[in-house]
């Protein structure tokens, strides 16, 4: 809501410094977004009177003017404008003046003739023809009789460009504040002043409106009140300057006196009005009814719109002439030859207006007010004010009777008032008298333990609403500051602790956390080469996404990681080591909401080659160790490994981690195809860990094991086996063969080449054994090794000679 301070001053004393006004209203609930002093970018422009206009000696299109500007002597100004003649009053930008757009005017010579300033057009003052309809667009603005023609007077004052426009953010519960009068009431209450709001009235000419028009409300639920007044013999012309100025300050473009009056009333009283040309109201009948199936209306903006049955329309005897509370029909409006006008001041159901406006895709000034829920009692002053203004402007003859179809409930909203309860609720210590004063200052009546809201307050429903009125006028910041009493204990949940542990471990391992969008493009699933029949393609779909790129909720967190890897690579970062802890969104059959399991994704590349499959695997193993997942198995991943994302990986460099036969993580190098899809020309490593599953199987407690008391026995062995045998298989055999004295096995060499047959490899281990009962003897250690060789032999691994 944009407010003209000049307009506000009609109703309340508001000459305090603008900064005080702004902060006062902000703190009492009407938030000021910003304010602007009109014409603040214009300086040193005054009213001038042209004394003479003679042709320029060196130009056939320039003229030389002698201008009186209130100084000792007239000044000389050269202009190219064709519309000036001696005796005209014009805006003169003097030497050193500024104009909108940062333009500075300096004296100089034009074709050899001295010019001491500039005569201004409307445009040069930042104005348009809507502000001064009698001016011309491509010439100097010749001041009319609605301007002050005192020579030398500052132009702001002379043409009324001296208002201050304040922009308010009005919350949806206070449509009454979307008006000059509403804000006048708030100003009065905030600063302890009295608002001077008179009931508007008009005189009118004799006539019975019922002979000219009949009104019927068919849907009283959606239209509890409809009032109409008639103006005969209207004279369509521009509104006077003061009205145009105020509309301009409030951001409304002046059109003509009748249309301006409806807008003026809407801005002043917050109640939208509509004006019909009676000629086009067929049968001189107005019916407020639901639209019929298939009915159409051409609205004022020239668009034909199809109506549906739940929409409320204003119809004449034949057709809809307006969409109730939203917009009038094209032929219902005021035209140059309009003779008789019907003013509508009605009240429509907020939710209905809102739905209709939304469905038709047209939010208007009127609909944005009605949809918040206006009170039917507001119809009266609005209609009276409109008719009063018609008389004030001499725009026509108002018929002195009006139509009022009123089915509204006028019971004032009453809520229990208890000063004790309010103090208890706010934590304040205010007297009952102070509270009553606050409430009365905003129009409430307090009697018999009840507070009654004025009709225009549609937001008062419960005790807490009354408490808010008191608190906001007292100033929230005057309330004491206390701390919640009582002891409370809080700690992280096991899941939160677990997730923090995961992050700590990743950070310690050198990985940086990322945050990505939860929604992705369906195409991202193609980029990770996901099979067409993958269950991951069944995603939660957003029906109104911002774009295709953010149109489905991710069923796999891997593509998000790949996108970020790709961005970093394309930003020429030499390496990236990243992780994300984020959710996936998996639809569940028969459930309304999807599952949202947490996933740890890891992604890394390094152009210097320091990252490879095994550094990634090492990082994953380190995290698992940190969060207590032990005794898992690592296998080469196959298509049915439990992770459909396996499609994204190099088939020979991808592993799954299984615990108790359940696949809980996948890791590997992205396939060349995937990397190419992301425009990355280096090896990329990625992993995904299913955290809830891992958490379930992990051991969070740690119990101290005594440090060894006896020395260890170490044996190094080298065996030769088929290249195809995974070393994990050998390790498993060694573990089984050594038994409980095994402390560690370390693979320290894998060799293929000379001295080893084709298709074979030599694998070397360092095996450490230790007992907690005593020093292992050589016999014991050698015995264990014999068992190891036997077990390895069963796998076809022979001791290397």
């Amino acid at each position: 809501m944009d407010l003209s301070m000049k307009w506000l001053a009609d109703y309340v004393d508001c000459d305090m410094p603008i900064k005080d006004f702004v902060s006062g209203l902000t703190l009492s609930g009407s938030k000021v977004e910003r304010y602007e002093e009109e014409g603040s970018d214009i300086s040193n422009v005054v009213v001038g009177k042209l004394l003479s206009v003679v042709p320029h000696e060196n130009s056939d299109h320039l003229v030389v003017c002698q201008v009186e500007v209130g100084k000792d002597a007239p000044i000389q100004i050269v202009t190219g404008a064709p519309n000036v003649s001696a005796g005209d009053y014009v805006p003169v930008a003097l030497d050193g003046s500024t104009l909108p757009g940062g333009i500075k005017i300096k004296k100089g010579k034009l074709r050899g003739v001295e010019s001491n300033g500039m005569l201004c057009s409307l445009g040069e003052l930042g104005l348009t023809l809507h502000d001064f309809p009698y001016a011309i667009e491509d010439g100097i603005f010749l001041l009319g009789d609605d301007c002050d023609k005192t020579v030398g007077m500052d132009i702001h004052k002379a043409i009324g460009l001296d208002d201050t426009c304040v922009e308010f953010e009005i919350t949806s519960n206070r449509p009454d504040c979307m008006s000059v009068i509403g804000l006048a009431r708030e100003t009065a209450a905030t600063f302890g002043k009295k608002a001077d709001i008179k009931e508007p009235a008009f005189t009118g000419v004799e006539g019975n409106i019922n002979d000219m028009l009949s009104v019927e409300i068919s849907n009283k639920e959606l239209c509890p009140r409809y009032m109409a007044g008639i103006v005969k013999n209207v004279k369509i012309e521009p509104s006077p300057r003061w009205m145009r100025e105020r509309l301009r300050a409030c951001g409304v473009r002046p059109i003509n006196n009748l249309v301006d009056i409806t807008n003026y009333v809407m801005l002043e009283y917050g109640h939208p009005m509509h004006a019909f040309d009676l000629r086009y109201v067929e049968g001189a009948k107005i019916n407020i009814r639901n639209a019929q199936k298939g009915e159409k209306i051409m609205t004022l903006d020239g668009v034909e719109r199809e109506l549906s049955e739940e929409m409320l329309v204003i119809a004449d005897g034949v057709k809809p002439v307006a969409v109730a509370g939203v917009m009038g029909g094209e032929f219902s409006g005021i035209m140059d030859d309009t003779n008789t006008v019907v003013f509508e001041s009605a009240c429509f159901d907020g939710a209905s207006v809102r739905t209709t406006a939304k469905k038709l895709g047209m939010r208007t000034d009127a609909s944005s007010r009605f949809e918040k829920g206006l009170n039917p009692q507001g119809c009266v002053p609005a209609l009276m004010r409109a008719l009063q203004l018609v008389e004030m402007l001499g725009a026509g003859e108002c018929v002195n009777t009006i139509i009022d179809c009123d089915y509204s409930d006028k019971t004032p909203a009453g809520v229990e008032f208890s000063a004790e309860w309010i103090n208890k609720f706010l934590g304040s210590d205010l007297s009952e008298e102070a509270m009553v004063n606050y409430l009365e200052s905003v129009g409430f009546k307090v009697e018999n333990g009840m507070a009654y809201a004025p009709y225009y307050r549609i937001d008062i429903e419960c005790k807490a609403d009354i408490a808010e009125e008191v608190a906001r006028l007292y100033d929230y910041n005057s309330l004491p500051s206390t701390i919640v009493r009582g002891v409370a204990q809080a700690q992280l949940s096991p899941k939160q602790k677990f997730e923090r542990e995961v992050k700590r471990a990743m950070v310690a391992l050198g990985y940086n956390e990322i945050t990505t969008y939860s929604f992705i493009s369906p195409k991202y699933l193609d980029k990770i080469c996901l099979p067409a029949d993958s269950k991951l393609r069944n995603a939660v779909v957003i029906t109104n996404p911002l774009g295709e790129d953010t149109s489905i909720m991710r069923t796999t967190a891997l593509p998000s990681m790949c996108e970020i890897i790709s961005k970093n690579y394309n930003n020429r970062n030499p390496y990236a080591m990243l992780f994300e802890l984020g959710n996936e969104y998996i639809p569940v059959d028969g459930e309304v909401l999807p599952n949202e399991p947490a996933r740890l994704t890891i992604g890394a590349y390094d152009n210097s080659g320091s990252v490879d499959f095994f550094t990634l695997k090492g990082a994953v193993e380190a995290v698992l160790d940190r969060i207590g997942l032990y005794d898992y198995e690592v296998e080469a991943a196959s298509a049915d490994c439990g992770f459909d994302e396996v499609s994204a990986f190099h088939p020979g460099r991808v592993a799954v981690i299984k615990k108790d036969e359940k696949a809980v993580a996948i890791l590997g190098e992205l396939s060349r195809q995937t990397a190419e899809n992301y425009g990355v020309n280096t090896r990329v490593y990625a992993a995904k860990l299913n955290l809830p599953e891992i958490m379930e199987m992990s051991v969070s407690e740690r119990i101290y094991k005594p440090l060894p008391k006896y020395p260890a026995a170490t044996r190094d062995i080298s065996v030769v086996c088929d290249d195809a045998i995974p070393v994990a298989k050998l390790e498993k055999a060694i573990k089984g063969a050594v038994g409980k004295t095994l402390e560690s096995i370390k693979l320290f060499d894998v060799y293929k080449g000379k001295q080893v047959d084709e298709g074979k490899k030599s694998v070397s281990y360092s095996i450490v054994m230790r007992s907690h009962e005593g020093t292992l003897t050589d016999e014991q250690a050698d015995g264990a090794m014999k068992r190891v060789f036997k077990a390895l032999a069963e796998l076809g691994a022979e001791l290397r000679s």
């Binding site: 938030k31 929230y476 945050t515 109104n544 970062n573």
Partner: protein, 339 residues
């Protein structure tokens, strides 16, 4: 014999002078003082001496031995010292050469800030509660006193999955789930991702993070809300921090407030950062609407409470002076490694 002893002493000292390393000194020690050394050899001849001479020569021999011992240890110490000096010289580094740091990772600035906020609230006895991001219309709107067609829904442009399922526009949905499942007293915060269909620019993102707080108990007042928020802001921004509360409207709280932080850039005088207002809007809050309590099965005559919601992006951007929200979601390494 006397002469022999003094000759030995002279010789030993001479040779010590010439010894250039620890090894040579050790050899001399063996040569003169060892079991088979020269002094021992002389002492062995003591038997030939008369009873009068024996103590005299014995004393002299011991003195010579002690002198040589002292000379040896002096020489050894000086050789060690010069050896160490040499090593120090040899091993001296240009300490201004670059260090070899292992890479350490960083938490994302949003989560770093979130953890700080969580710690503050854990300290005040608030549990951290999570809830679904894909949420029913009921929990996201209806139960928060925003029935269908409520105008306040306009301020939260919503992504819809279907008529009854949305991407949550606020984590207040978690408050409702908590109130339905837990009897007061309740003290929780619910951080998490929220979604609104705002196009991406320097200050908007269709996905961002909120931290909502909720306190329900007997006798909770608006002054408690004010005190709690002041405490939070002081912990986050320092003891000097000032806030102000402004009346506002949220359908699920009454009274409702928006909270501004005195601009940390200009101290309230007005600058471009605070759009000349001197204050920066930081969060929304209010007393839980009695209707919301009642709908969750909590008697508003017996209990009262407050709620507040903070934008994590806003705090994070303020903390680190990040001017463009997009950086938070682009995850460029050069950005991530700064935190």
């Amino acid at each position: 014999m006397k002469e022999q002893l003094s000759q030995i002493e002279v010789l030993a000292k001479q040779q010590l002078e010439e010894a250039s390393d620890a090894k040579a000194v050790e050899e001399l020690r063996v040569k003169f003082l060892g079991k088979k050394g020269e002094i021992t050899a002389i002492l062995k001849q003591m038997g030939q001496l008369s009873a009068e001479e024996r103590p005299v020569i014995g004393q002299l021999a011991n003195k010579v031995r002690a002198d040589i011992e002292e000379a040896i240890s002096e020489r050894a110490a000086s050789i060690k010292a010069s050896e160490q000096e040499r090593l120090i010289k040899e091993e001296t580094l240009d300490v201004t050469m670059p260090g070899k740091a292992p890479k350490i990772g960083r938490l994302h600035p949003l989560n770093k800030t979130l953890e700080e906020v969580e710690e503050i609230f854990l300290g005040m006895g608030f549990e951290i509660v999570e809830g679904p991001e894909v949420e029913t219309d009921h929990y996201c709107f209806e139960a928060l006193n925003m029935p269908k067609h409520h105008p306040a829904r306009d301020t939260q442009d919503t992504f819809y999955i279907n008529e009854n399922v949305v991407l949550r526009t606020q984590t207040s949905s978690v408050q409702i789930r908590t109130m339905e499942n837990k009897k007061p007293p309740i003290r929780i915060i619910s951080p998490g991702r929220v979604y609104r269909s705002d196009a991406v620019d320097a200050t908007h993102s269709p996905l961002f993070h909120q931290i909502e707080g909720l306190v329900i108990d007997k006798g909770i007042t608006m002054a408690d809300l004010k005190g709690t928020l002041e405490l939070l802001m002081k912990r986050l921004y320092g003891e000097e921090t000032q806030i102000r509360l402004r009346p506002h409207h949220f359908p699920y709280t009454e009274p409702s407030a928006e909270v501004d932080l005195m601009c940390y850039n200009c101290g309230g005088k007005g600058c471009p950062m605070c759009k000349n207002e001197g204050w920066i809007e930081i969060l929304g809050a209010g007393m839980v609407h009695p209707k919301v309590l009642r709908d969750c099965g909590i008697d508003p005559e017996e209990y009262s409470g407050f709620a507040f919601g903070i934008g994590l992006e806003r705090i994070t951007m303020g903390n680190y002076e990040i001017k463009d929200m997009r950086l938070l979601y682009e995850n460029d390494m050069r950005f991530l490694e700064q935190f």
